[in-house]
Symmetry: C2
Subunit: 284 residues, 2 copies
């Protein structure tokens, strides 16, 4: 496995493989890997001849009061983990390499980015779509892999790729969880022991919602209220949103009859965590 | 030469050529060809194995009170002209093919799009950059050709390609003029005989500016004022802007010492026309 830091180097390495007819899988990440990241890399390895992992804590997707500076970083540990699952190349550019002096182009997906995380993180998705488009253009991958923990991000990237006619396939992978149910996240490393314990309310509230739905609570707003109340019992946890939305349009759902997602964002101390689940509509 | 209307068809046709190792040149146009367009196609033919011309009057780059509906269209005439200079493929999609239901992704270049035409045509460049990015992704060309008559458009596209790390070269081609100096434009077809005659003030004012500069008028604002006064003598012509800008940043230039462009936009009746020239700084 090779770690490269410049666009020219990654282009040369991938270009050589492409000319040999090899397929290329890209896993875009901000590093500090956990099993969720590794599951994407393993799938990329299974599907493609060459696997590229980009590792870039992208400044443009963080707000001015967010955790860009403190976001956990450990390239040495990450490189060892990536190598252990057969990754061929890590692309680890500097912010200056990605956004040189005079940089001024941004891509935005409208509608899908307005609600959920978009409402509280203005500019976040514009940063995400722009860096992903750049990575897709730099690596020229056949497939790119995203976890569904940030479900909105996954749908936004899917939309961008479709709308811009990009010649690559977006693969969405299941959420990977700790044995007690907590969705894996690099930001879990911020949690104290008490906060880590409180965080279990996220996955538990998803299971609770499924039970409520099976018990006949098919009104989106009612389900949301009950989930918020359930999470509210944990004193360390503040709900940012607990939204029942259409799985494709991400619009709030009044009646849970089509494919629906319950999407959660909470704050535990200074840590912002996400989780979500597809709601299984009970047979009539 | 073949005329195709769907993204799938153009992808298949270009894909076959690419796999045979052929290079691909793209000329993005809104049709109603004149010698300016043909000069781009001839250059594309000289530089590449396969030449694709896109012909699409792009609705998203027109404002609500602009000439989208009336923009001149003649596919049969255009196809014959393109074939005469050796074009291989015309891609002529419908608006629904390019922007299907649910479409919601846009690319914007900031800074460069703020002044000149961007000031009076909000959303125009967002439409231009988005459709060009889509065309680049669909055709996967090695080179794309743009005329320098819309100098700002050319610089904006160049910037987008650089910023987004697109693997294609943007080639800017010289303005092609009628024998009397009028820059060729599909919109010249809107002009009455009297308006056509008045329109000569555009190219004449560029020559006048060059003389003023040679005579020592090296202050950008002073030169602008004199050029505006020169154009103002034509009663049918309203100046939208006559701006002396840096050729790279498009920022107004106080002193004409670096590479400068004099960019003009005027209205003659309902017709909006552009012209520009690089200012040659006199030897000290």
């Amino acid at each position: 496995m090779k770690v490269v830091h410049t666009i020219a180097e990654i282009r040369t390495a991938v270009g050589t493989a492409s000319r040999e007819g090899k397929t290329v899988g890209l896993v875009p990440t901000m590093g500090y890997f956990h099993e969720g990241h590794l599951s994407l890399m393993r799938q990329a390895k299974a599907d493609n001849d060459l696997v590229v992992v980009s590792l870039f804590v992208n400044p443009t997707q963080f707000g001015p009061n967010e955790d860009f500076r403190n976001y956990p970083r450990d390239l040495e540990r990450d490189a060892a983990m990536a190598e252990s699952v057969g990754v061929d190349l890590i692309f680890n550019p500097s912010p200056e390499e990605m956004y040189p002096e005079g940089y001024s182009t941004y891509v935005s997906v409208e509608k899908l980015t307005e609600g959920l995380c978009g409402a509280s993180r203005p500019g976040h998705f514009k940063g995400v779509t722009t860096v992903c488009l750049k990575l897709f253009n730099i690596v020229q991958a056949d497939r790119a892999y995203f976890g569904r923990k940030d479900y909105q991000q996954f749908k936004v990237i899917e939309r961008m790729v479709k709308d811009l006619d990009l010649p690559l396939e977006i693969v969405g992978m299941p959420i990977v969880r700790e044995v007690d149910g907590l969705a894996m996240s690099s930001r879990n490393s911020y949690l104290s022991a008490a906060e880590r314990s409180s965080a279990l309310v996220l996955s538990r509230s998803l299971a609770h919602a499924q039970e409520l739905l099976a018990g006949g609570v098919v009104n989106g707003e009612e389900l949301q209220r009950k989930v918020e109340a359930f999470i509210g019992k944990e004193p360390l946890v503040q709900v940012e949103y607990a939204s029942v939305v259409d799985a494709e349009s991400l619009e709030p759902l009044a009646d849970i009859s089509s494919k629906a997602v319950l999407a959660l964002a909470v704050r535990i101390g200074k840590t912002r965590l996400l989780d979500n689940a597809l709601l299984e509509i009970p047979a009539q």
